[in-house]
């Protein structure tokens, strides 16, 4: 009827759409994934491809089945697939990646209502599922392909699990920084992680509160416990988890204060698992546990409304 569109204000919107953010996050994870492939060889690439493909196909199929708008193009399934693959040891069989992605998307994401509704980070829950179901495959680490012997080794964390977090004799801190060590595909090359994270921070898609608080908490606690600050923050999946998974928007608190608290909780739990737990690494479980605490944190960190007295 009317010639002109009527809609509520505001009439202009910022450029950042959900899709744009998601694809930028994909771009930010890519350096890490590529570094993983460079370090561990072509099998890692197959794992990444299989994981992403399985995630996307699962999401598309379930969208069809549940008669919901298919949201594959928003890139969130691609992120889940990529993150999951980065959390796998480079030598894992391809079917592990496929099953993990399927579990992550179908059960952790879609069963809870799809994008924006999931309680747990799908990639991490997928990894937890794989870890519980096929522990042998998930803890057989591969050495970087430049190393002379192809004998599988443990992650640096597991190596000196006895005197946890003491300065590792091998590999050197520099090796750990550039990724010359055993571990998951995505967690080894810290420099690539920092490049991607720096990009996201610069773009404003992730905020520094969670990752920085998380990393500092682990580092300081380890130092207090007699370990090395730098070793503890470079080791394991801490960098990767802090920048790419503890910052997942859906499963973390809304307010800056809540996000910092989330990081603190993750740090304490990670340290506790590393120090006293049965697993060598605690990043993924600490983030999952804090995911569950997110609604409580949200309630706890409600901000004072402008013009109201502090409650």
């Amino acid at each position: 009827m009317s010639m002109y569109t009527i809609s509520p204000a505001p009439h202009i919107k910022s450029k950042d759409s959900t899709n744009r953010i998601m694809w930028f996050v994909v771009a930010a994870i890519l350096p890490t994934a590529i570094a993983g492939v460079w370090i561990f060889g072509p099998h890692a690439a197959w794992l990444i491809l299989a994981s992403v493909a399985a995630a996307v196909l699962t999401e598309a199929a379930l969208g069809r089945l549940m008669k919901k708008p298919v949201t594959v193009t928003d890139g969130s399934a691609v992120i889940t697939g990529l993150l999951l693959a980065c959390n796998l040891p480079a030598g894992a069989p391809v079917w592990i990646a496929v099953l993990g992605s399927f579990f992550a998307i179908a059960i952790v994401k879609c069963a809870f209502g799809g994008l924006g509704k999931n309680i747990f980070n799908p990639a991490l829950a997928g990894r937890a599922f794989l870890m519980l179901s096929w522990p042998a495959h998930m803890t057989t680490w591969q050495n970087p392909r430049f190393w002379p012997d192809v004998v599988s080794s443990a992650t640096p964390l597991a190596k000196n699990a006895v005197e946890i977090m003491g300065p590792g004799s091998k590999p050197s801190l520099w090796d750990m920084f550039i990724g010359n060590r055993g571990g998951c595909i995505g967690e080894v090359c810290v420099i690539a992680i920092l490049v991607g994270a720096g990009f996201l921070l610069y773009k404003g898609y992730i905020k520094w509160y969670t990752p920085i608080v998380y990393i500092l908490t682990v580092g300081i606690l380890s130092r207090l416990a007699g370990g090395s600050f730098i070793f503890s923050i470079l080791a394991g999946g801490l960098m990767f988890g802090a920048f790419f998974m503890a910052t997942d928007m859906v499963t973390t608190p809304l307010t800056p204060g809540g996000q910092a608290l989330f990081g603190l909780g993750c740090g304490i739990i990670t340290f506790a698992i590393r120090k006293w737990g049965g697993y060598p690494e605690g990043v993924s479980y600490s983030i999952l546990i804090m995911n569950a605490a997110t609604p409580m944190i949200d309630r706890l960190t409600k901000r004072r409304v402008f013009g109201k007295k502090k409650r």
């Binding site: 002109y4 204000a9 973390t252 409600k302 901000r303």
Partner: protein
Amino acid sequence: MLKSFFGGVHPPGFKTSTKNKNIRPAALPKKIILPLSQHTGSSAEPVVSPGDYVEAGAVIAKATGFISSNIHSSVSGKVLAIEPAAHPVLGKCRAIIIEPELQQKRLDSIKDCADSGFDPGKLNPADILDAVSSAGIVGMGGAAFPAHVKLSPPKNKKIDTLIINAAECEPYLTCDHRLLLERPIDIINGIKILANVLGVKKCIVGIEDNKCDSAEVIRNASILKSDIKVVPLHTKYPQGSEKQLIDAMLDKEVPSGGLPFDAGVVVHNVATALAIYEAVALNKPLYERVVTVSGDCIKDPANLLVKIGTPASELAAECGGFIKKPKKIIFGGPMMGVAQPSEDAPVIKGTSGILFLSKDIAGEYNEGVCIRCGACVRACPMYLEPTTIYYAAKKARFDIVNDLCALDCIECGACSFDCPARLELSGIIKYAKAMIKK
């Protein structure tokens, strides 16, 4: 250091197309529509009837009560009708329709320049208030709150600061900016008049730092009357919102549900200060104002001095017509303005801009789902959680909406602007507020 508030967003400015253009008078329109409700409060009551002849500046409708405002004819001519007509905010409203005559006449009492001995500091506050209220002056930044009410603080509130709002944080709008550049002396005189009425010593003009030239001009102009301070503000939306402006400039929070009075502050817009000067010194009622006509569909965007009551269609023609098909016509700025169904709506006292936007700028988006990114939380200048309120309102849980302090929302639209899922956060919250009040 630049003063600012917490939160807010950075929309693109879109101001370059009009910020260097002098204010010019618009041509006489063929028809004038003067709605009886152009202000917050009860609508005015007409004192003319169809067929009457009126001169420009003559009272045609009288205020009904304290929070109300007189309405004056903006042209000389014949009253055609008093009937419901298009209104930019209310949709439809009873209006006085006047056909202008070719040879315009205005009331003899209106002067062209102030008397030689005019000194704003020596006037009697009661006389000023009287002049302001009979001239029908309202807040010209958009809310259109009658100015004499804002100048009569309750006796128990001590007012110590007058803030002149020249932030003009809405994209596209440049009318206040141009006024500052072109009429600095008159605006300073207006500020002195306001200071006189309120009995305050401290006057601050807040200007966003993307308008440094006007800040410089006003600073130079006020050098002789040194108690007016110019404070540069961080360019951020909604810097021009009363509460945020007070927070940024004085570090004081207006209490929830309160008015600037409660923080000891009165805030007036630049255009209002000028209108008050004209009312007091020149005896000229508020019947014309500066309007920015802009948008990507307009061939020749401009800052026009417009007779109140001029329909939007005439202003579009005045600015060279359209180069693209407009998708939206907006009265006000793009962040808080009201989209119009047609071009018929007239300029009213609170209209600071008319924008004709194509689909390239005012695109239509499908609402997605919240991914809890927290953009709205960071954007909200009132420290609310828009997304939580949004979902509570969608489930019609207005009790929760109320607990989440939705009534404190200033409807600035910053949350909707920044939402990557394109949720109509502020639209829904506005609706929820109406439901709570019911």
